[in-house]
Symmetry: C2
Subunit: 97 residues, 2 copies
Amino acid sequence: MIEDISANAEQAAMFLKGLANPQRLMILCLLAEGEKNVSELIAATGIPQTSMSQHLNKLKDENIVDFRREHRSLFYRLEHPAALKIMTVLHDEYCAK
Amino acid sequence: MIEDISANAEQAAMFLKGLANPQRLMILCLLAEGEKNVSELIAATGIPQTSMSQHLNKLKDENIVDFRREHRSLFYRLEHPAALKIMTVLHDEYCAK
DNA sequence: TTATGATATTATAAAAATATAAAATGAAGG
DNA sequence: CCTTCATTTTATATTTTTATAATATCATAA
């Protein structure tokens, strides 16, 4: 069952690294509520604009989020079922206890 | 539910960083089968001894694994239910597809 | 009590991640 | 068109992670 993750360890680790940052977890928490544009994410988290853009780019690279344009704004959303599952595990471990 | 991970984002991110490395995932795959000593882990993975020791130390720091001594050998085991849950999510995503 | 086997620790160099500032893009309103 | 707003891109310095080599520890068998 679990023992053959090793063959795919490189991919799986890259995916986890996409999540393994406190600011990105905050962003993903917000996106777990529903899609939000970049300005909303900045306002809600206090993360500097440039930094936000880079974090979103990294999440996009790992296909953890996707976005759509609406007028001038880009609305990001969580697009990765496994990422949501992991967020749930983290919630149960670090928030619900 | 999920939205308040942000308050604990730092801790949760540190935990994820403990997992987010291909060699450590391989180690954890093996430990998911049951406890193993360091020599067995080295033989099964090909990871150099020094490197193995450091990875195990990092996993220990995050309380993801624990160990017991038996004669000269140290037997490590997976000691973290949330880590096992995440391994399962990764397995379903990267191995069972 | 010494040698050996099993593992950890320390040191250090290389690679990757993060933060921050400056400049660039691109859509939309006037 | 020109300006402005929302966002990305590029550049760079700092910090963290990883890899590797050398050395140390510590339990045990001889």
